[in-house]
Symmetry: C2
Subunit: 353 residues, 2 copies
């Protein structure tokens, strides 16, 4: 094929949208009319196809089932009051997608396939992006190895796909966390910084143990000492001690979240002292005891900004104070104002479809 | 369904075996006539189906593509001179499969499904097990999450499958390895001990770097210090210093290989002093310098026993001596004698189909 990567579009005969009950959605269960698919074979990306969302046929020997080369991104499209649709920092997701691809020995996806494909797909299904508080279209670009065969080696064939699911603001209930002291999410020199499917599978069992104890999530700590906070698997973590905000520096164990980077920038814009530095569990426990621990919150594309109500570390339990003007709520409002085109976009984060 | 898990068999109309060129097989590319499939849904295993090997249909939102819950086992069936077919320590694989399942928050597979299903499947396709030096049928039981949906949580549905591929003895060429000093395979408190698909995906990029330098594999070291040997991803590692044999103790980072355990037992049977203990890279480099480092070899189901010809660690390179009567060749012959029913099976490792 040529390098222009022409996009072939095959539209659905009849949209599912009229039959979709937008008031009763389960997160990630309903998909829009179309999806994007592009195959990497013989060392290059083949034609880009946008076609009706539907099943794919794979052999049981398909390498992704056996050796787990699978990466993804989570993004959202937002609609403003006038009906215009925007992506939020999509270049950041594309760059991280390719960083994940490299670490998992998968081919990088060129910008014209990822970005032009995404824009065309969102434009085609733009009626699925609803306007309203907390509403968005969740975008899921992902790549899987698709060669058939069980030899333990990188695949010679891959599929890049984008699927999209209407999302809503929902009250998740209070979130309390266990700070990990036994299990780990990532190793130094490993793949923790990549959005690799296997990282999530590895977190489910310890997370289930936390749920059984009445907690909703795990904040991971470093595997070597379990003394320093890392992230929460689907969220980066911010800690407010006194009036300062801290988050762990990103490294090869910690995902460099797009929402994380936005929170850091917005905190600076609001005159909040914010630092990327190691945060020890001991420091948090001491700050809890002397009353200087004001807030802990998570940040992520799906979760947006989620205040943590309480935590447990070994035998130490703590309930965070309820603040009238928390950094979490202030920054969440500021983020939504940018995403929904209600505020000036001084960092150039919005991309209009 | 009832607890008896009746196995439903749908045979192929015409076998592919006559069209299969057994003299020109690529490892893991050719599959037998039948496969086994069993779905876990609504909290229980549904009916067990043995049916023609062929593609399955899955939605692009299938959770295995996004969150990587996928585990497997590697096993082999052997044929003896009289045409009888044997499995090798299959109970060990079943138990490890369920240990992997537990760590990945997946349902355990009952013995009657795994073992009876496997035996029926091998019996049905027993003509695909060829008799001859190094020939075997490679068995691949695996499980994937199969719920549709992109919410980051354990799947509510799983597929357990077994596929089988005729395998042969092949000369892999000399194997030289890089001992890792930067990248890691597994974290303390992580999933390194499980046969999780994501562990393999994580190893491909560093392994590709080794290949680019002219080496074939990586021997992983501990992520915390990179000072102690772990395993080689598809093989456990044995080191012979003087007349003693050492292998790293299994822990939550290192797979407890069935071939590894067999090698340890056979070494004891042969009066070889064998120890499971930590082996530092420094110890190996010192032993190389003073000449006491006699052998390094890998052990695994697919690889059997593979002598390592040389290694590199940082700027230190070493070529192992060529021994006339190496432990590797002695133990490999002993292992094959048991597997092919040419020697007494005093530990009860063979299971006749």
């Amino acid at each position: 094929m040529t390098n222009t990567h022409a996009i072939v579009i095959d539209k659905v005969k009849e949209s599912k949208i009229a039959k979709t009950d937008f008031d009763n959605l389960t997160f990630g269960k309903t998909f829009t009319d179309h999806m994007l698919e592009c195959t990497w074979r013989d060392g290059e990306w083949q034609s880009v196809e946008i076609k009706p969302y539907g099943p794919i046929e794979v052999e049981p020997s398909c390498k992704v089932f056996h050796y787990g080369q699978a990466i993804f991104e989570g993004m959202k499209a937002f609609k403003d009051a006038t009906g215009d649709v925007f992506l939020f920092r999509p270049e950041d997701n594309w760059q991280r997608f390719n960083a994940s691809a490299k670490r998992l020995a998968m081919p990088e996806v060129p910008e014209e396939i990822f970005m032009e494909g995404l824009k065309k797909l969102v434009a085609l299904d733009k009626d699925w992006v609803r306007y309203g508080e907390g509403l968005s279209l969740y975008l899921r670009p992902f790549m899987i190895s698709s060669e058939n065969g069980v030899a333990a080696a990188p695949s010679t064939e891959y599929k890049f796909m984008i699927i999209m699911s209407p999302a809503f603001a929902y009250y998740k209930g209070d979130v309390r966390v266990i700070i990990a002291s036994e299990f780990s999410r990532a190793a130094d020199g490993g793949v923790g910084y990549a959005k690799a499917a296997g990282n999530y599978a590895a977190s489910f069992y310890p997370n289930n143990l936390a749920i059984q104890e009445g907690y909703q999530q795990v904040i991971w700590t470093d595997a070597a000492s379990h003394e320093y906070l890392e992230e929460a698997g689907t969220m980066n973590i911010f800690v407010r001690i006194g009036d300062s905000l801290f988050t762990a520096p990103h490294n090869d164990r910690i995902l460099n979240g797009v929402t994380r980077r936005s929170v850091i920038q917005m905190a600076k814009d609001h005159g909040i002292h914010v630092e990327e530095r190691r945060i020890s569990v001991n420091e948090i426990r001491e700050a809890a005891k002397d009353g200087s621990l004001k807030e802990i919150f998570g940040s992520g594309t799906a979760a947006v900004i989620v205040p943590i109500k309480g935590f447990k570390h070994k035998d130490f339990k703590y309930e965070l104070p309820q603040l009238d003007d928390s950094y979490a709520s202030r920054l969440k409002e500021a983020l939504k104002d940018i995403q929904y085109n209600r505020a000036e976009d001084k960092h150039g984060w919005r991309v209009k479809i």
